[in-house]
């Protein structure tokens, strides 16, 4: 009998401990020890952590709204973490949601529309100019606004080693893609394996030059007028891009982004291309050593810009619909998007100002090399084409395979047209996507058309 009791006790203990580990965690509504309302805020941005944490600490110490912000930085697997937290009832009140596709936050009701809050806040409107920052399919859908960006990441620029160019007899970056490649070829030839004309990373390399050159040449993967994917226009860009490898122009390895940045910073190749984050990278993270570097516009097929270059709106905050404190959550967003918060943020060079008001308020001499990446008149945010359930590789992978010569260019284009449109048709039929049509689409002003969402 005693043995049985002992067995039951031990087994019970093991069971409790085991289940304890399984069900550990979880949280309910929180209130700080001093009676303040706690607003949980999530962000995936780590690069600006020092500044944001310092401002949050100031806010927690000084605000008169009885609010305490608990800031969590979740830089890995952010989308899934947010989704799991929402499903499990532990979602934050406020979250940075600019990187999450709109269908995942709007159609699901995870994020709350901010229209009424925005309409009632004159200060917010003055600083953030929300009605001129509505990007259909990015931060807004069917008239509902889910977040407003507080900054912009520029489109791609060419970043070049001025000294190497001068050494090889060049002073500026050609505006025509063919001439740009010729220049890279000449620099590689003159380098005789000591240095090269251009370098590419293995992390989404197509996006970092050729795709943006295509955009500025008026080529895009989605035919907005007919609501279909159309990759046919990329052929001349891909043919030019092939030259980097058939003519042995590029640096022989494609490594991770930071490795390639490090190689550029020591003068291993002359031409690199990426967006405005490189300003901080080449001055602080991986400082350029021993040469002058410049920033230039991406070359196009004809040398003329006939299409818009894509920019990325950044740092947009939204309210998660499960919050018990929407008013306080909005106050926290007002703080994150206040003039005081943004002035220091933008002057620290974390991103470019997205409104004329903030551009006029900041001291641009403090932003360092970020000023070289100032937005161009032809840069804008494209309406987001439908997100589809695609089988096989995405277009960037396939096109880079074509550039590398692993797949024929015509075959690649035909394959992408077939797979993407089959996926779109199937998703529209299943109801998991809608077909975006913009009848009055203008490639130089893609954000100014009238979007329609078709269910067939």
């Amino acid at each position: 009998m005693r043995n049985t009791v002992k067995t039951i006790l031990i087994a019970g203990l093991i069971l409790v401990l085991s289940l304890g580990t399984v069900f550990a965690g979880g949280s309910g509504e929180k209130e700080s020890t001093d009676g303040k309302i706690v607003i949980e805020a999530w962000t995936e941005d780590r690069h600006d952590m020092e500044y944001v944490e310092q401002k949050v600490a100031e806010y927690n110490a000084t605000n008169t709204d009885n609010i305490q912000i608990n800031l969590s930085i979740i830089s890995d697997n952010y989308r899934n973490m947010l989704q799991m937290a929402y499903s499990g009832g532990t979602a934050p009140d406020v979250a940075g949601i600019n990187s999450i596709p709109i269908n995942m936050i709007a159609d699901t009701g995870i994020a709350m529309p901010l229209n009424d809050f925005i309409a009632a806040s004159e200060e917010y409107q003055k600083v953030n100019d929300p009605y001129n920052q509505i990007y259909e399919g990015t931060n807004s859908k069917n008239g509902n606004i889910y977040w407003i960006p507080t900054g912009m990441r520029s489109g791609v620029r060419v970043i070049y080693n001025k000294d190497l160019l001068a050494q090889c007899g060049y002073t500026e970056i050609p505006s025509k893609l063919e001439d740009y490649i010729d220049m890279a070829k000449d620099i590689t030839a003159q380098g005789q394996s000591r240095f090269y004309g251009i370098g590419f990373t293995n992390a989404s390399p197509f996006e970092r030059l050729l795709e943006m050159s295509a955009e500025m040449s008026g080529i895009y993967y989605y035919d907005y007028v007919n609501g279909r994917f159309d990759f046919s226009g990329y052929k001349p860009i891909l043919e030019q891009g092939r030259r980097f490898f058939t003519e042995n122009i590029a640096y022989p390895d494609q490594q991770g982004v930071d490795n390639m940045r490090a190689l550029f910073s020591v003068g291993m190749f002359a031409l690199w291309s990426n967006a405005s984050q490189e300003a901080a990278v080449f001055t602080e993270q991986i400082p350029v050593q021993g040469f002058e570097w410049g920033v230039a516009e991406v070359p196009t097929l004809t040398g003329e810009v006939v299409g818009a270059l894509e920019t990325t709106p950044s740092k947009g905050w939204g309210i998660i619909s499960s919050t018990k404190h929407p008013e306080e959550a909005w106050k926290v967003i007002e703080f994150f998007q206040s003039e005081d918060f943004l002035k220091g943020y933008l002057e620290a060079g974390y991103c470019l100002p997205s409104t004329d008001y903030m551009a006029s308020v900041i001291d641009s001499s403090k932003t360092g090399r970020l000023a070289d990446f100032a937005l161009k008149p032809y840069e804008t945010v494209y309406p987001k084409p439908p997100a589809v359930n695609l089988s096989g590789d995405d277009y960037r992978t396939v096109f880079w395979n074509a550039v590398m010569g692993y797949v024929d260019i015509d075959t690649a284009i035909e394959d992408l047209n077939t797979r993407y449109n089959e996926a779109l048709d199937a998703d529209v039929a299943a109801g998991s996507a809608t077909r975006l049509v913009i009848k009055d689409y203008d490639p130089l002003h893609p954000d100014q058309g009238t979007p329609e969402y078709l269910t067939e």
Binding site: N3, T4, T7, I8, I10, A11, I14, L15, S18, L19, V22, N77, R79, N80, Q83, P101, N103, M104, I105, D107, T108, I110, S193, N202, A203, S204, Y222, Y251, P252, D253, Q254, Q255, G256, N259, M268, K384, P385, P386, A387, V388, N389, L390, S391, G392, D393, D394, Y395, R396, T397, N401, M404, Y406, V407, A426, D427, A430, G431, S432
Partner: protein, 309 residues
Amino acid sequence: MKNKGLARQIKKEDKRDRRAAIIMLSPVVILLLICSIYPFLWMFRYVCYDYNGFNATFTGTRNFTRMLSDTTFWTSVGHTFEYALYKLVFIIPLALVCAVLLNQKIRGTSVFRAVYFMPTVISSSISGMIFTFIFATQNGILNGMLMGMGFIDAPIQWLTSTEHVMSAVTILAVWGGFGNYMLYFITGMNVISEDVYEAAKIDGANGIQTFFKITLPMLSPILKVVLMLAITGAFKDYEAIMVLTQGGPGNRSMVMFLYIYNLIFGSGLTNMTQPQIGYGALLSVVAAIIVGAVTIAYQRIARKLDEVM
């Protein structure tokens, strides 16, 4: 009367033992249900859905038809078999040879054991990063050594050429795993009685004869286990490949679990693709069936070999 009492006593004790067994097993069974069976069923219910983590749309048999025509997936299955073959061909003999050498009574063997085992405890993402530098075409350590020794005239594009990338990922896999299998073999050898070796020595057997006639046959139970672990491990490898090559160039090193990972966790997502948890779940089930079928096939072959031997 005495027998009846004894039978009742035995029955009572059996009952008590059974109850104790049930109670003692229950935590494990409950954990198994919560941590393995439930997630599997959870995953299984999405095979007929488009599910991006937020929205689930029923699509009937569409995921199945997609799978049949998904050339990237079937190519990745082919690459997985190729990778597993290369890995097994090198890793098992190497682990066995090292185990035999390091099982000798020579000074310093424990240092070598520790050195060979060390890659096992290094995370595969770190080793992937390290090997990126080793395999670099320009200024890479491996190319530098090969050129210094006169084996090659020009640098090999280990990671950016479709011809060589499989060799690179195999080298990394063998480096990372053979120390572990070596330890299994050493443990197995320690069980073999010294008397057997002494008898063989008295009979005049040399080292090679001893290895093939004594060590190898007596290691066969552990060899079978190691082979099974190596096969299932090789089929499930993807972390180091993800860091080293991301499945490239041109998908040449794309293995099935890396493809599934990309589908489910959205690595490399563009702005018009999304996590495909439903389709990824279906491919996971298919991948599990493939690995299971290979394991069963191996076990049958091993059993047949036992019967023959």
